[in-house]
């Protein structure tokens, strides 16, 4: 069965420091991975997808199939980055589109 693991429940960094939120997955098929973010009192929203190879709000994530990882990185953390981050694996089943989420990492950026 597919699984997404985010080993850190809480990550606290200082403003301006580099950030790396870890995500590992387990899936026998071809993975599609995403990062979703939930800011305080806001709804969960898509941050980025590995297929797009994009940088959003300074965040990037590279899919490493050898290490089965999709870590989220940002070189310089900003206060507004404080939020809950979820890594998700998408599986296309015969029935449709299923997202399996990790347990999330709370990022706290301190001044």
């Amino acid at each position: 069965a597919q699984r997404v693991t985010q080993p850190e429940k809480l990550l606290s960094v200082f403003k301006g420091a580099p950030v790396e939120l870890k995500c590992n997955y387990s899936y026998s098929g071809s993975p599609e991975l995403f990062w979703y973010v939930q800011y305080s009192r806001q709804r969960l929203q898509l941050l980025l997808r590995h297929i797009s190879r994009e940088s959003i709000k300074g965040f990037t994530a590279d899919l490493n199939k050898g290490e089965t990882s999709f870590h989220l990185k940002k070189p310089f953390a900003q206060e507004e980055d404080s939020a809950m981050y979820y890594c998700a694996l998408r599986i296309l089943t015969g029935g449709g589109n299923k997202l399996t989420f990790g347990t999330g990492t709370q990022l706290k950026v301190e001044l």
């Binding site: 599609e32 995403f34 709804r43 969960l44 929203q45 898509l46 997808r49 297929i51 809950m84 979820y86 998408r90 296309l92 089943t93 029935g95 449709g96 589109n97 299923k98 997202l99 399996t100 989420f101 347990t103 999330g104």
Partner: protein, 113 residues
């Protein structure tokens, strides 16, 4: 305008009661979902509907019955509520059953006493 909305935002009820949570999306999407987020923030899919048809049912107790009167609405009815049902329930939608981006509602915090 709110894209995916849920009512109520908070729901506090006694064990054994029956309750419903409503979800509506105005994005014109074909596919809608219900997720449950437990006290440890673990987010897990429960159901998915595409054009009013159930397409994903993730071994959820049959006390939970989703209903989709039209493709813009997906309601969740829960019978005989148990303490373990306390969680935040999120509704989401996507353009189609194979579309990767899902848009989430604000969540409904259900507390069963």
């Amino acid at each position: 305008d709110t894209a995916v909305s849920q009512t109520p935002k908070y729901l506090v009820t006694q064990m054994g009661n029956d309750k419903s949570i409503k979800c509506e999306q105005n994005l014109g999407h074909d596919t809608m979902y219900w997720y449950k987020q437990d006290s440890k923030k673990f987010l897990k899919i429960m159901f998915s509907y595409n054009n009013k048809e159930l397409i994903i049912n993730e071994t959820v107790p049959n006390r939970f019955s989703p209903k989709s009167p039209d493709k813009a609405h997906l309601n969740l009815h829960i019978n005989s509520l148990e303490l373990g049902d306390s969680a935040v329930y999120f509704c989401a939608s996507s353009e189609g059953r194979d579309t990767d981006t899902q848009y989430f509602g604000p969540g409904t915090r259900l507390t069963v006493l």
